[in-house]
């Protein structure tokens, strides 16, 4: 099974080298070091969101991730970021846990 994965990755690398390499440069529009950095930060944050959800609780992680993602995507106005993060987290929480009655992970804020 592991071998299969290795083979696949290797083949994909070969394919990329042969046919798609040049294409990548042009299809990745406006990619610079900072862009890549933002992308990786964003991806890591998203994973952190999911993995921390059970530990820390839905409300905290959702609020945090909204703030971080909005910042990464260009928002700089602190007022907007925070107020949207708060209100949207509250809204989603309300809709999902009170109307749809789905238990969202409580984490640290159990009450």
């Amino acid at each position: 099974m592991f071998l299969a994965v290795v083979l696949i990755i290797n083949n994909m690398r070969l394919l990329k080298k042969r046919s798609g390499y040049a294409k990548i440069e042009e299809s990745a529009t406006e990619t610079s070091a900072t862009q890549r950095g933002k992308l990786w930060a964003g991806i890591l944050v998203c994973f952190g969101y999911v993995l921390l959800m059970n530990l820390v609780g839905f409300l905290i992680v959702t609020f945090s991730i909204l703030v971080v993602l909005m910042y990464l995507m260009g928002q700089r106005n602190l007022r907007i970021i925070v107020s949207i993060a708060v209100s949207f987290t509250a809204l989603v929480y309300y809709v999902f846990s009170k109307i749809l009655i789905i238990q969202l992970p409580e984490g640290l804020l159990s009450f």
Partner: protein, 495 residues
Amino acid sequence: MIEHIVNGFSLTFGLSNLLLMSLGMFIGIVVGAIPGLNSMQLIPISIPFTFWMKPHLALMFLLSEYVGSIYGGSISAILINTPGTPAAVATVIDGYPLAKQGKSGKALKMALYSSIFGDIFSTCVLIVGAVVLARIAMKFGPAEMAAVILFSLTLTATVLGKSIIKGLIAAVGGLILGVVGSDPITGTPRMMFSVYELSQGIGLVPVIMGLFAVSEVFVQLERKFTTRKIKGHLPESPKKEDQRVSLREFLSVKRSVFLGTIVGTFFGTIPGVGASASAFAAYSVAQRTSRNPEKFGNGCLEGIASVEAANNATTASALIPFLTLGIPGCATVAVLAAAFMLHGVIPGPLIFVQHGDVVYSIFIGLLFVNVLMLFEAQLGMNICRKIVTGVPTGIIFPIVFVLCATGTYSVSHSVVDVILMLGFGLMGYVMYKYEYPAAPLLISFILSPIFEQAMRQALVISHGSPMVFFRHPIALVFVILTLISLVLISFLIRR
């Protein structure tokens, strides 16, 4: 029977029914448009609200929600490349590119008109031919199912895109993903890595949300954002005709609409296939028979029309085996089955005798609901367009992400699904960057488990003899179609 029809009319056009249908449709559209929420969550929680209603009101309300959500899914598919409902997953292929050209209004309206056509047509089929079609559907045992799905799988060839190898890799990837889960016959766990949540296989929702929505979030993360002027991610073409669909335009795609409707109605009648698979099937049939196949995938109206007609056609025709035999065609209809039973309307052959007026009011209601959809959807799409084009990207996509994550969690209450969603988000991003098409992956992912189960069941019944596919006439027909299709494809590819 006549008095059933007459009673049905009066039930449908009663004031409370009209109000409830409008309300249900509106809620359905809104929920469908929100990524992460769809009718699978909406209907179970709406059921308690219907307990106090009379059966025909309750059922029509739920059905309006159902129909509305199928359209609503295409709104977000077109505007933010995120299918709001699994059924709308094929709409992103041509819908989003068209919206990126600034013609979101046109895309949305095309989707609406096609949806309405598909819905009305298959409802008529339901009304006129339910009993006959149900009998035909009954003839589809495992061998027939396997043959039909095999044929559909060959359709993946048409959506392979420019690079055939990449398309094939994607398709094989989908096959591998379809293997995960318990073996359909023996129950042996396959590629589950001791994660019990995967015993039913990888869910469709994490895959779709991840592959389309989350990957789009990652793509957007990479964009250069000017801090001075935050713009939306969709341009708005100022030309009026770019936001409308003229009658001539609609007539020009009538072939796709019609094909989509037929395919959708067909796949809806056979239990077990589902709206997303039939949407893809319609897409490839339309592409293959189109005069401009290369336009597909770049914002081609035919692409939107065929898909939307198909997914709405499926919803109405899925009721055919359900109402006549009591057998739900897909998961959402299964939930509706619960609602029917809770209100004492037992689906099955006796339903026409015992609750004829309710049935006819449902038939008439399903037709009328399209009129409501015409108006409410326009309202809904205008609101959504204003939101999407007005609110900055940097706010929309984080919100979309949270909705997808929460919605995926709410389907199965397991964080595993959300993690899978993220994984698929990464995969979707990589596929986008290296130009691997998502469509073949999805098609084989959805269809291969169905195919495998059907084929193995057929082989069990025949004691392992593959002759079973030749002995059953319907299966044989599809096997021949498959062979023809493969031959045709190899010619096309060579060209």
